[in-house]
Amino acid sequence: MEAADLTHHTSRRFNEDLERVRAKVLAMGGFVEQQLSQALTALIDGDSALGQSVASQDYKVNGMEVSIDEECSRILATRAPAAGDLRMVVATIKTITDLERIGDECERIGNIASRLANVERPADRYREVKHLGRTVQLMVHNMLDACARLDSTLALDTARQDRYVDEEYESIQRQCITFMMEDPRTIRRALEVMWVVRSLERIGDHAKNICEYIIYMVHGKDIRHTSLERVAEELKSEAARA
């Protein structure tokens, strides 16, 4: 099994079509990345207007998903791609679904941020949420880099990051419960913060899914529901054989 060379193709027009779709996916990714960053800024700075603006921009992400989806269907129907190209189209269709969900989670964080802007901010200014947010942002960024470079090593490393996100999510959850028990007045805020970290954790999961699609696209190997250690070993042995 060899890494597929997805950069060359016999039919130039076909190649251009595929490249255009990929560029659109990455543009969508870039926009989602910005949405995530603005949603977190809105929460941490208590900027209600920014939070609302993030929530109201989500329709753009949905529009991009629909447009890319249509283009993929068109490629499937008219070009009947095979092997690596087929994998790319299939992976793209899955990728945009996850990207769109990331967009939805950003919308939710934006909405919560604009609600929380009116509530007093905690003394630690959402330090934990900020840290988790940065980890997730980095994950999304690296995931998109891996997608642009078709870099399965980076994709695998990024997918592994999801475990830390999950751990941190649980620790923030416990912290929130402690806060609520100590001071019932913080319950409202703590519940909202729980929703935010839940969304961040979900974004991490979606990013991990996309990383798996990238590995599938590059190597033609379905690694969902397989432990990442085994995948790493297999990729390594494959590299040794090549």
Binding site: L26, A27, G29, G30, F31, Q34
Partner: protein, 439 residues
Amino acid sequence: MKLGSKPGLSASAWRGLLVQAALAVLAALLVGELTGHIGVGLAAVLGALLLRQLYLLQRVLVWLQGDRVDLAPDAGGVWGDVIGLIMRLFRRKQYHKRRMRQLLRELRHSTAAIPDGVVMLNPAAEILWFNRSAGELLHLRNRGDVGLRIDNLVRRPEFVNYLREGDYRSPVVVQASDLSEQYLHFQIVPYGAGQLLLLVRDVTRQAQLEAMRKDFVANASHELRSPLTVIAGYLETLSQDEALEPGLSGPIQEMRRQALRMTAIVQDLLELSRLEAEGAVPRGEPIDIGALLAQLRDDLRSRKTLAVEVRLAAESTDRLVGEEAQIHSACANLLENAAKYTPTGGVITMRWWSDAQGGHLSVADTGIGIAPEHLPRLTERFYRVDAGRSRASGGSGLGLAIVKHVLQRHGGSLQIESEEGRGSTFSCHFPVSRLLPAA
């Protein structure tokens, strides 16, 4: 023999050829004499000559096929000249190649040393080459990233739009990534056959200074507002005080006017900094421009001191989608300007119409007009066409700057036409996407 001179054989070659021919004839005659058959002699000599030529040709061929140019076969006569010529051509080519390589290396070294990032892109926006600074600023990898599309790697939406829209007249400043405070200045320069040169500069410092400036203006205006209110309030009371010495009433009236003017300036500054701080208006609500203009017209007519005619031509019932308070402020500013500079008996015409290009709003007056050299700078803050003119009429000097910002936030543009002595027309153009047919 020099390359490029008239083709022909050198004198020595001619001589060699003649000597060879003479020797051959002599040898042929000698052999003919010995054997008694002149034909056999001729055939033997010609055969020997032919073999020698073929042998030499073969050696030249072997030499040309090999890669050791310095191992040229040793041959005299015409072959020697041919070989010499080939060697000369080859050396010349090598010399040029070396020079080109050297030049290219120097060029690359110098571009690599430029502190600004440089990326060469082909028409499909794929990376052809980039220098070290660009690699560092944009986190490009030396291996593997050549041939990838730049917008796949630099995914900031502002940059992607800039690249795709193809309008490279003005640069764009973009925050490098969500995880850093770095700001990058991108400028694309088209060259050659659709190729693009992307210049990247780190402008974090400038961006910070700009942010500081905006903050300063906003804070300073805010801080000035409270003391001004107090001053204006006391002056108001004083001016109505009957017991005041008559000689002081004039100065106090003047102080009151100036205090009011300062308040107006501070208010405009605050509005301007608010406009600057916010991004584009996302959607807003549909505004009935016709009604808005009609109300402004009535306000103006109700002013007793004004003796100008105000006309309104609302030709379209289309609604403009935007922020009503801002659009109102822009229209009011335009109308205020027109009223200020139109002498008694003049006419102000407001017009609202829409076509395939979008919505258009214009305010035309028959006032004193503006000289063409002032037009480009008119929307700058505190720009005065002449010192006496607007100070007397009490403007803040920020009206048109506010109009420009409001339009920018709504995706529109301001167009100013004016003729000195005849009047001016200020037109606002809004894109089609901002229009909504009346329900």
